[in-house]
């Protein structure tokens, strides 16, 4: 097995959603500040969970299928990148659905007296 197996799965997720930014104009990566502010707390919380799970032997990683680089404490870099890539994919999906269907998410500007929707 390749040391890039885990990274390969992440690449599949990243590239599999990247086209949404261009074709559906999701404008998620373009709004990078909002993206960082959204993903950073998720990384902190889920890395803490992951470190506990690793220390309590909830799960282990096949050393022959990950890069072997340790990101922080006992957390493999591959696993840290999971918490970067997957949230981005989730936000891209939400914005893709908004782009296609036009449904409200809750962050739309309130425009009193303006009923124009295109």
């Amino acid at each position: 097995m390749s040391n890039f197996a885990y990274l390969g799965v992440l690449a599949f997720c990243f590239i599999g959603t990247l086209w949404l930014e261009i074709v559906l104009r999701t404008r998620v990566y373009r709004r990078w500040l909002r993206l960082i502010l959204s993903v950073a707390p998720v990384i902190v919380i889920f890395v803490a969970w992951d470190l506990y799970a690793i220390s309590a032997n909830h799960w282990t990683f096949d050393s022959s299928q990950i890069t072997g680089i340790i990101a922080v404490a006992s957390l493999p870099l591959d696993e840290l990148l999971f918490f970067v890539v997957i949230p981005c994919c989730a936000i891209l999906t939400l914005e893709a659905v908004r782009s296609v269907r036009g449904w409200t998410v809750g962050d739309e500007p309130t425009r009193d007296g303006v009923g124009d929707e295109s």
Binding site: M1, A5, L24, R34, S38, F46, W49, G102, G106
Partner: protein
């Protein structure tokens, strides 16, 4: 604490976060559930790869099902697993996705890069035809 217990607590905490702390109330919106349906399909695919190839291996003492076997993939379905992954991963994934989307909407609601909004799609022949037919 077991993974099962932690996953349930994780879901509950994030639900409270969406409804009462961040007040984004995504759980009450159609767009969230349609997006989640798409996400969970691809979660089963990508997580199925991670668990089916045993890149990540689980300890049977902390999940509903058994440990990831030493040789060969875990069950595709059954023994507390769905597409090779422990069902706890579905709860973990739900918490991860809902927290992420709640935060994204939270920042937008308070005005952080609310604009430019998503869309319209670059290629939408259906929409073009609509605008041509209606004045």
């Amino acid at each position: 604490m077991s993974y099962t217990q932690l996953a349930i607590i994780g879901i509950l905490v994030v639900i409270v976060g969406d409804l009462f702390v961040l007040r984004t109330r995504l759980l009450t919106r159609k767009i969230f559930w349609v997006s989640y349906a798409i996400i969970v399909f691809f979660q089963l695919v990508s997580n199925g790869l991670l668990t089916g190839f045993r890149i990540v291996r689980y300890n049977g003492e902390v999940i509903i099902g058994s440990s990831t076997p030493v040789e060969g993939p875990p069950p595709f379905i059954g023994d507390g697993r769905l597409v090779f992954a422990p069902v706890e991963d579905l709860m973990f994934g739900f918490a991860l996705v809902l927290l992420t989307l709640s935060l994204w909407v939270f920042w937008g609601r308070i005005g952080v890069q609310r604009l430019p909004m998503a869309g319209p799609p670059r290629f939408s022949p259906g929409r073009k035809r609509d605008s041509e037919s209606s004045p």
